[in-house]
């Protein structure tokens, strides 16, 4: 971090509260457009409820399609918040400060989208989803099957959503007090209620810091368990051969981190372009996130390699046939190449160049590519996996998402964008107190003719 601009507390408040205290001209059109897309998706959902899941492209043998792909994808994106916020907080990485809030909020809305994609939409009859959790019949004591991954899934995701929301809220409290002190009327009452009497006393700061660290430490196992459990939805089954692999949990998690951190980088660039926060989100931050992404992406690729090597190692016909389908049969072969190229072979070599890592434009392009690739990765795991012509499968159908599914997939993306837009109107997307703390803790040391950035340690 060689670029350092010392800002006053007033400047920080003015800059970072601009999204809350002023409404830019583009904000309402953006909300209306995403709102319409979201409502259209909800309309499609209503139509599906009315007509049944027959309106989707799901059919024997492919019962898991775009909804499940979306579910896994958004669970993956949700790993951004904890990776950036909890891990970097625990390791005291200074560059995390302007990024944490956006990453945490992205986590919350992505999780909501994931919940929308699977338990709400995919099950077809969501009003019966309660039967996953509660006994079928109290009188006869018939309980749900706790050995089913479909019980683990909602439990894990709901725990993660609760923990992440708490994480966002705890970190928001000091900033809410700042807004409270600048607001009037009903707005003031709203923020006063949310700030819970924050005055910034030493005791309050201490409690807030401890809560942040404790939540970081506690949320990490949840973060690991969520995507592990999602992966076990697939891996514990033995029928689609390509899914029955021990590597799935780490492979899914590292893939999630790859796609989640990329999404955060995309979001950072958008924040700079839209709100002009380039004094806070500097090329240095993109450089740091780019270097992190090189490591994450390469680790992900290693797990991808292991998954493939061991698929071939089995020498089992069914497994080899499935791989043949993924790589050599059109259209999966085309998607497979597109997935590899966009998820790894274009972005990672580009990130090796410092000028790319420090460029807003190129980081935006490469991180978008990563997420296109990672969506395709999930698609290629799920769809060819279920459509393979295995034993006792006499329907050899393929899968094409219907317009209903496409609308609902777009709806989940629109939900995340809409949620982020509304959040920025109510709360600051860059944590004020964290930036101020960083400014106080920053220093410089002169070594010979060079000035080296430094930070204060207890």
């Amino acid at each position: 971090m060689q670029e350092h601009v010392q800002l006053t507390q007033k400047q920080i408040n003015d800059d970072l509260l601009s999204s809350v205290l002023h409404t830019p001209r583009w904000w309402w059109p953006a909300v209306i457009v995403t709102g319409i897309i979201f409502l259209t998706g909800m309309g499609a959902f209503g139509y599906m409820l009315n007509q049944g899941v027959g309106v989707t492209g799901l059919n024997r043998p492919v019962f898991w399609g775009a909804y499940m792909v979306n579910f896994v994808f958004f669970i993956g994106i949700s790993h951004a918040g904890i990776m950036i916020s909890a891990i970097l907080r625990l390791t005291q990485a200074e560059w995390r400060r302007p990024v944490t809030r956006a990453a945490e909020v992205l986590t919350v809305f992505s999780l909501m989208s994931a919940l929308m994609a699977a338990p709400l939409v995919h099950v077809g009859r969501p009003w019966r989803a309660d039967l996953w959790v509660f006994p079928y019949d109290f009188a006869r004591g018939i309980w749900i099957n706790i050995r089913s991954p479909f019980i683990w899934d909602p439990s894990a995701v709901m725990t993660y959503l609760t923990a992440s929301s708490l994480f966002v809220f705890i970190a928001l409290i000091p900033d809410l007090a700042v807004i409270r002190d600048r607001a009037s009327g009903y707005t003031r009452k709203f923020y006063a209620l949310m700030a819970m009497g924050w005055r910034g006393t030493p005791r309050q700061w201490k409690l807030q810091a401890i809560a942040g660290i404790l939540l970081s430490a506690l949320v990490l196992p949840v973060f690991v368990s969520v995507h592990s459990i999602v992966s076990w939805d697939f891996a514990v089954q033995i029928a689609p051969e390509a899914w029955h692999s021990t590597i799935f949990a780490p492979y899914f998690i590292i893939g999630a981190i790859h796609s989640g951190v990329s999404a955060v980088a995309t979001l950072m660039v958008i924040m700079v372009w839209v709100w002009g926060w380039d004094k806070y989100l500097k090329p240095d931050h993109l450089d740091a996130i780019g270097r992190l992404l090189i490591i994450v992406a390469t680790t992900w690729f290693f797990f991808f390699f292991l998954e493939w090597v061991f698929a071939l190692y089995t020498l089992e016909d069914a497994e080899l046939a499935m791989r043949d389908l993924q790589v050599f049969q059109w259209p999966w072969s085309g998607l497979f190449i597109l997935f590899l190229v966009t998820a790894y072979f274009i972005p990672v070599p580009m990130w090796l160049f410092k000028s790319i890592r420090r460029s807003y434009f190129w980081m935006f392009v490469t991180t978008i590519l990563v997420n296109i690739g990672m969506w395709l990765e999930r698609f290629l795991i799920i769809v060819p996996g279920t459509m393979r012509r295995g034993e006792f499968i006499f329907d050899w159908g393929s899968y094409h998402p219907s317009i209903i599914e496409i609308l609902m997939v777009i709806m989940t993306f629109a939900w995340v964008v809409l949620g982020m837009l509304v959040f920025t109107k109510l709360f600051p997307l860059i944590p004020l107190f964290d930036i101020k703390e960083g400014m106080v803790g920053r220093d410089e040391i002169r070594i010979g003719r060079r000035i080296v950035p430094a930070s204060i340690r207890e």
């Binding site: 021990t246 292991l306 080296v452 340690r457």
Partner: protein, 461 residues
Amino acid sequence: MNNGAHNGHGALMTPKAVEDDLLDKGRLRGSTFRIAVIVFAVLSVLGVVGFVIRLADGFGNTPVWGYHAALFAFILTAAQGAPMVAIAPRIANAHWRRSISRVAELFSLVGIVSFVIYIPVAWALPSMEDGRRTLWFYGELNMPAHMPEITTTLVLLALTVNGLWLLWVSAMPDFAMLRDRSTGKKKVWFSRLARGWVGTSGQWNWQKHRLGILGAFYFMMLVTAHFAFSLDFGMSLVPGWIDALYPATHAHNSLQAGVAITLITMYVLYRFGGYKDYINLDQFWGLGKLLFSLSLLWFWFWFSSFIIFWFGAKPSEEAVLDLLFVGPYLPIFFIVFTFAFLVPLWAMIWNPLRKSVWGPVTIACGVLIATLFDRIRVYVAAFSVSESTNKHLMVEIPGAVLPDVADVLIWVGGISACILIYMLGTRIIPPINIWEQKEVLLYRIHKPFHRTEVQVLGKPE
């Protein structure tokens, strides 16, 4: 004397004082050191005796080489994983690593012993002609029948050479200091090792880049070595053992055991080597936290594999679970599970223990014991089923193989040889990195801050 590293307080030493102190400590070794060297040399000879006894069984009798293979796997896992403790924090620019990076890098020397121990294991591995499942598609592609031995040998050689190269590049500025203070033959030797180092900006830049590149390559080689060895010398010998995660688990175990062995070595230097001014609570705390997180990851890696086999419940998978977890090696697995995960989890969540010198070291001893037993569990079991007739499904679970006299001698000798070469290494290379110690003095200042004094630490790009 205090170099100011301890929690950032205390007076700062001058770079010259650090250099004098560390070079003196390296030169002056007491009689205890000499006695220890002699003891370990004698014990190493016992290992050779054990090996000669084992040779009488011949290489064709694969199951009897199980303990020898496990010894190699243990050294590969623990000692050759240790240099990562220097590499990773150096890449992350963590200042606390400076006192311990050399302690970890010196384990590269153990690679030489490890490679020598590996050679008989390669001879004992059955040829792929026995029809077992391998990655090499023997019979379908025109692969030589000894491809596993060839590739693993090359990878291990590359790992060892890479480690030694890394150690040499890292020690070059220290060799130059030793050169400037020695006379006669020693001066000639240190001059050769220092390769004309005078400390120009170009040389420092060159060294920084080489350390980065060699570190990255070491990590890749380490992962590849674990991949090759665990697959070809472990998994492929057990019919039906198809675990895509296991090579990564093996490599992860190496990082965990590498941290553990570095912690223990640090403690020995701290307690008996006179390095209390350099190794202090910061280092034990830093590594303790790392060990804690790696122990949690141990559980996650293990469970990720276990649940798939247990839930899948295919006959081949149940047989593997029987062999490795719940069958003849259950007591060993119990020890592994306890010391690699349960004890670190329940002990390290306790703040006073985690933030102490004795706490992380005690846990590290447990982790090292767990690693040792884990390697016995896996490789002794794998070698014991190598003669199974069905190569794709384990029909009968062989019983536990107990070590004989030759195995015990080989283990004692092998571990002693590793300790011996490390001790001899510290005679030539200072066990505390002098240039890194001097460098941190430039980056650290103390200054008043409101009503207190704080430490300001520089972090260059």
